[in-house]
Amino acid sequence: MNATLRPLRALLLGLSLLPGLAWAGSGDAVLAKVDEALNRAKDTSSRMSAETVIPGQAPLKMEFTLETKGPKRMVEFQAPGDMKGTRVLVLDRRQMYVYLPAYNKVRRVASHVQSQGFMGTMFADADMSTTRFGEAWQADLKAETDAAWTLALTPKPGEETAYARLEIEVAKSNSLPSTIRYYDAKGTHLKTEVRSEYFCQGDVCQPGHFKMTDHTRKDAYTILIQKMDKLNAGLPDDRFSQRALQQGR
């Protein structure tokens, strides 16, 4: 009896977060520029490959396609084989569904599954789900060079955040984050995320390469490579529906 607890949980959840990975700020004004740049694309279609390397263990590889429109996401896994055909629909952070090919069934998934992180990678739900930093964080301009701003982010009063502090390096060329450092309340540097190889179409830019290193796990890391297929292609709203999730089209 497979009480459907299956591997869904893990996968499902983090997904909500994938696409518009983004952050930034320079004081609050720079942070507002970052948020605007992060959310410029109306919709995206991309192919993602991820490799997680933990010292002493075999690398874990994943491949999936990702479509986004605003906060909505549709993910379909191509690898590994035991996840192939699994699809996840995220309408918002409290409304998620998974299609399990083994059961021919769409199942509603509660948002608590996000606690498990994203599929055994170094990305946590909170790392991937933030599309607008300014909603929960306030920023101080910590440093500035000709090429970049460095912002120090702390939670806004009353906001519950997964980290106590963030440091974001923002490239002035595109107002997008290049490095994000995550700290806990004791000031311990937990993780570092590097976003690079940005590609642009018009004024919309997306990173082609993410690397998240977890310093609390012997610098285990996950590399996420994004290959954009379509940008602002006008994906219809019903592409993000249970109907589309069941049909897989």
């Binding site: 590994p80 090919p101 021919n104 519950e160 993000f240």
Partner: protein, 578 residues
Amino acid sequence: MWSLLLAAALSAPAAAQEVRWTFAGALQTDVRYGIDKIDVGEWYAPLSQEPGFIRNQNLINTKIGAKTDGARFFWDADFVLMGFPDTLDSTTALSRREKIDPFRFEVHNAYAEAWDLGGLRGLDMRVGQQKIQWGVGDQFNPTNNLNADDLEDPLLFGDQLGNVMARLDYTPIPSLSFSAVVVPVFKPALLPQTGRIALGLTDRIPVDDAELRRELYASNALLESFALSWPTVVSGVSPQLPDSSFENMQWSGRIAGTLGMHDLALSYYKGRFDFPVATNNHTTAAPGEQCNPDDEEDCIKGLLQTIASVGYPEMQVWGFNAAGEVNPLGWALRRAKPIGYRLEVARIDPERQTMSVTNDELALGITTQPAGEYDYQLEGGGRPEVLPTDAFLKWTAGLDYTFGKHVYVNAQWVHGMPDEFGAGDWASGGGGATQRQAELLTYDDPLVCNVLNLTTDPRGQGEQCVKEWTRPKIGDYGVIGADLTFRQTTLRVFTILDFTPVTVSTYDADAGERVSTKFAWNTDTGRSMVIYPELKHAFPSGFSLSGGAVVMIGEPWTKFGDPATGGTQIFTRARYAF
């Protein structure tokens, strides 16, 4: 006709469109070992299962899809090598590969579907062999009745058989859909191989009327007794499937949508219960003296062989489903995350079904029973009911939650297992009960219960001579499971606890009346549960290994202690998915 419609819808655009193929599948090896020794039936008709390997199966699953912008064809099937030789009943069989190395196909899906039919956005049709999995419950879905249950493999509980059907969906907006399905041909549930053991449980008489039920048992038991030595055995089962006529076609409709943050659905199904229900027991005498090889004093004069005919009663099912999440502690604990919930309720209106008990002429030596039908002596006449028309509910209510990064917990209350049917449950205290076991009472005075008394006052014999164990027709179960995941390794443990009480009814000779005692789930008599631990490791390549056990606990009259479940087994599985 549906195929023609679909073909017409597909043909024009498909010719010009690029076809995208998808392939997936898996190789899987299952080895299982049954631990328990199961013995049912007497020496003249033994049914047993010795400890040993009970499954040695290799499976190849293939999934092939061909998709265009407006349509898709999909194939999903298993090719299974059984791993045990078939029954080898002749020298010829020894030279037949399919006997030595048998195999089978299981076609889960083989259908075509078209989207946005006739240019109407949101109108979809799917025709062919398919599984339609409605219902929000996890594995326990009383509103999901279009496909027959597949219980052949207990580790795949909740699986169903593919069937040919036509499905039409209209989704005018993403959050609202209307569905209609027709199923031309009825398929019965596929039962586990250990279900054959139930044939040896001749004390389970399916008649609702308790007095008649006890009388029938007393009759059989006394015929078996030393005075006559004609025991009854079930020599076969004759399933009576409905004709594949238009009138017998199953159909269903559903409206599903999202209201606020909650998914809701209403459904209706008209079709049949897919587990067999008794319709007739017909008995013939097979003379032939034989003695117990282990006790030459224990002899019989022949067997009363009964063929049990079974049918699949019609039913209507009104279904309600709701799923979403709630945060009951959110007001107090800011870090509390919402709890997932699911509720699935089915109101079932069954067709009345009666059972007849008939026999050929039974020449039993000191007496002869003429051919004909049993004299039930029921008030109002007629045949005994095995299924009244009373409506009843089956439902599943569940919650799930994730604790930290590694622990996922899922709990459900299940009111009615898939094989349970008919009014009668613990909560209402009313309705029918199913007989789980019976035995003949013995007294110091050997004349109290004997064949002579039976012939003069059979009903009284039943009341005074039979002790029986019963439980409500619809049981209540607590299902709780947890997954502990550490990277690629998962320890899954879940248990099903049967909360349904067992009633033991016997005759109190001192008081001169029958007395009943109810045994709750936490007593030795009523305890019944399943414990399922499984350890699985998924390698990065798509290869996985798992092992575990299905531990069945309970007395033979309980749900999970029932010998027909096959008892406790341990299992291993290796799987490579691509």
